[in-house]
Symmetry: C2
């Protein structure tokens, strides 16, 4: 099965659905003309379809492995990574002063979607490297930037994020890794980190670890954490990989999917590190990495969904069981719903990326707030759609979907990590109803205003659709106001369904915009979304309204199955 990068679908969303043209009109991103945009998407699409997609199955079948303390990547991955690096794709949105291309994050995310649809396990490496580049650009000293950024941007070296420890997952502040000041201005890092994606490999000549650790005088919790650059090989005087640092890859995890991505247990044993940013302020730098990565993970969901759906449609168009199954009403329902959800999730992710670009180009708080508000929705909805569509792909294949040979199951196994890493979708939802509503609902209301205004504008040609979107937007506004009247634990009990409802309303909004601007096929797809997917926002909100009290009324024993009390 060949993956065909969805270049035209993305172009349409950029030019007709979201506010990417605003990004192009800024001074900062003036180079990102329509022609450049188109050329970049086409080029990345070629790379994804022709170079990366053929690596997807082999990485699943021949996982990365640990040999003599070093990770050997899956067959062909070194060549695949080299192709990504040589194309300049890693530094696409990075600062040109250090070898980046300075193009919009929107384009970068579009490219990321295509790469992850082609080969998720490999794409994780550039994704995390980009996160590190972001953190260094914003927080590192000039010296660190000059040394590391060019090599990260070029793909000569790769970057990792080291947050998690056995006792510190979602609770990052519980970490126990220690940092000690050394007289030469460097630090010594000691501790164990787990779930380190691409924590080691032979696809780059150095692996740069961004490691969270606590200095002796660091406060407990997240406020006493610092961030360090801890490279696998210490750079020599020429900035080339020199002496090996005191870092061990303890083991690789055996995972449900993304077998081609080595997930490492790392041990830092008095390893040499350099401070990134200020002492005790590591969480700020980490959040820079994580915000970018969160949107990137949402985009991964969209990428896998696109790939799984393409395969399912192709299969359904060939498989004959009392006629081609693509014509069976229920199979068509599954495929059409999936296609409509992929469009919605992609639009949300790209709209979020454009808000980031506008924030960077203008510095306006309004754009920053929009980006911050959309990020958890993009992450959670994008990854849920990733899993749901991959699941649909398996179902459409029938019994063949359960056989590994077809690859349908791999999409589901691969996608299943995305609602978990970079903050579980539950944490995204808590972020949305907590921090992201802490502005008094300002960002939410501005977004809803746009949705309502657009629905009014569409009221002529698409009366039936716009009416339903307008009603949903109005209900969502009331639900948002009601959510803000609750205390945090109450909000958290309804956070996930609230986020999902918001995502469906947003998805319907972008579908309506597509119907206004696009072809008859866009109108037909909008109709599917608005009549089949959007209505679920009402039951999401019913769940969001149901009280926390109801959940706490159930004992732990009853959850486990003991109803005697």
């Amino acid at each position: 099965m060949t993956y065909a990068a969805p270049v035209e679908q993305i172009e349409f969303i950029l030019s007709r659905v979201i506010a990417y043209s605003e990004v192009q009109e800024t001074d900062r991103f003036a180079e990102a003309t329509q022609d450049t945009t188109r050329a970049i998407l086409a080029e990345a699409g070629k790379l994804a379809g022709q170079v990366l997609a053929p690596l997807n199955r082999s990485g699943d079948q021949v996982p990365a492995r640990l040999e003599n303390g070093r990770v050997r990547a899956s067959p062909g991955y070194a060549e695949g990574f080299a192709a990504i690096a040589e194309g300049g794709w890693i530094g696409l949105a990075a600062d040109p002063e250090y070898g980046g291309m300075g193009l919009p994050m929107t384009l970068n995310m579009a490219v990321a979607e295509m790469m992850s649809g082609a080969c998720l396990a490999l794409q994780l490496n550039p994704l995390l490297t980009q996160g590190q580049i972001e953190a260094l650009e914003h927080h590192a000293s000039e010296e660190l930037k000059a040394l590391y950024l060019p090599k990260l941007n070029s793909g000569e070296w790769s970057g990792t994020m080291n947050l998690t420890e056995p006792g510190a997952g979602s609770d990052v502040g519980a970490l126990t890794t220690r940092a000690e000041r050394h007289e030469d201005g460097t630090y010594r890092i000691t501790g164990q980190k787990i779930f380190i994606t691409w924590g080691d490999s032979d696809v780059t000549s150095n692996v740069c670890h961004a490691v969270l650790a606590r200095l002796p005088d660091g406060a407990r919790g997240t406020r006493g954490i610092s961030l360090f650059m801890v490279p696998k090989f210490l750079p020599d005087d020429q900035g080339n990989p020199g002496v090996a640092n005191s870092i061990k890859v303890v083991s690789l995890e055996e995972k449900m999917g993304i077998h081609g991505s080595p997930t490492c247990v790392m041990s830092y044993e008095g390893a040499t590190g350099w401070l990134i940013g200020e002492e005790h302020k590591g969480m700020a730098s980490m959040f820079t990495m994580m915000n970018c990565a969160r949107l990137g993970v949402g985009v991964q969901g969209v990428g896998v969904a696109e790939a799984a759906l393409q395969q399912a449609v192709a299969y359904a168009g060939e498989r004959n069981q009392m006629g081609l199954i693509i014509n069976h009403p229920d199979v068509r329902r599954m495929l059409a719903t999936a296609r409509a959800e992929v469009f919605a999730a992609r639009s949300i992710c790209l709209a979020c990326a454009s808000a980031i670009d506008m924030q960077r180009a203008t510095g306006a708080a309004e754009h920053a707030a929009r980006a911050a508000f959309l990020t958890p929705i993009a992450k959670a909805y994008g990854t849920d759609v990733g899993c749901r569509v991959a699941d649909t792909g398996v179902q459409v294949h029938g019994g063949m979907g359960y056989i590994e040979e077809t690859g349908a199951a791999q999409y589901l196994r691969d996608a299943r990590i995305t609602p978990i890493y970079e903050g579980t979708n539950g944490i995204q939802a808590m972020d949305l109803v907590g921090r992201k509503l802490a502005d008094g609902g300002d960002a939410a209301m501005r977004l809803l205003d746009e949705i309502l205004d657009n629905a009014k504008a569409a009221n002529g040609a698409h009366h039936d659709l716009s009416e339903r979107v307008w009603q949903a937007g109005e209900t969502m506004r009331e639900a948002t106001l009601a959510m803000m009247e609750r205390d945090l634990p109450e909000r958290f009990g309804g956070a996930v369904p609230f986020l999902m409802a918001f995502a469906r309303v947003l998805g319907a909004h972008y579908h309506l915009r597509a119907a206004m601007a696009g072809s008859a096929a866009h109108v037909a797809l909008a109709r599917v979304y608005i009549s089949r997917v959007l209505p679920r926002y009402a039951s999401d909100l019913a769940e969001a309204r149901a009280g926390l009290e109801e959940l706490t009324a159930i004992s732990d024993a009853a959850l486990a199955g003991d109803f005697s009390a």
Copy 2:
């Protein structure tokens, strides 16, 4: 992680929620007293928890394999199967004349749930053997019954179902396997079958294949198909396994899950077979096997859901991230919703089994219609809940859920086959809105009448809950009438969401009954279901109402991502 069989939960449903007491009052099942019921559940629970559950991980890690043309089962599986056989569990509901115990199907399904929660891959063997026993009891000659049934009931031999061929999955009528009459009254069977669960193994001394094939004068389609008994070893004069039949195990499939269950490609090469039932009427016998197996697969979903949920609750009660995560509102929401869905799915399955028992005990058409109506709902909802709860289990584990070591991912991988085999859930839904409404909606309306009457009866103590169940039942009645006004293709376009809506209303009904009869914990759980899960029936029905026209308006090209037209 230890699986604790949910004996008390099942007992409560049997004694207070569904109409099992009616079954116990019949002459046929008079032996199934409360004491016997309790003793059997306790004994089966012990077997499941102590003997079968320890085999679950090892079967995943060491799959069944093909050696010299014979299948070697996973380590310990032969002993596990022997324990099932020795306990008399295979023939629990079978005819005592041939070595069965003659107990209710309801009890059999309760036992099946516990065995599949403990070790799904192994439990498939007795499940399919029971399906074959059913088919033989109803359709086979006295000679075949006398020869095969005692050995199948005792677990000395096992049974398989051979329907699927490469070009004939859901479309069974497309099969090409040939049968030829032989002068001695036997038949010669030639053809290839795929997806044959437990198609061979070393856990029994013979494997009895029920094979669908077409005689030379058989009509095209399903009406020209006959069913044959084709044993691996031809029974000798004493009825012991003799000469090997001309059957080859071509290969085993590499699957997403249930690794311990050998899924075989079988080749029949002029193999000797005996006719089961009448020539050309094999589909009737096959449906007997399949109906039992369909409910059995729904029950498998419940079993895996229970096991996955137990593990998730245990993990959440130990995992500390800013307090035990079981106390985090969103984790509690996931666990409580899952527990409520497990209760609903289990009740639907056991109610379906009880209707089968009543049909057998009384012969009344009303019970037959009830069983037929509930079977597709039990299969589809049970298996969807199986996947959904296993998925929740992964999510609750966070990053650890993606690591194979914890076993959470295995539940999801194992459960994922259940919405596919024995007729995909899409086919179940088509059966529901097609054949099962062909009685003019009689069976549906009787069921809805019960739901409405019960809601009225509950109106005192549980006014808020009963009101919502009543309303949902009333809406479901209207939706059912509306469904019947459509032609078949229109029905099929909304079949799956219609089935899901019906399942949620049924689930709410059984929760309401539990709230009326049970402890405070049952009331609390009913509240979770009725306020968080039930409301989704409304959006299901919105989707069910959306027209087929909308789906056919989208071109195949647009489904694949090309919107140019």
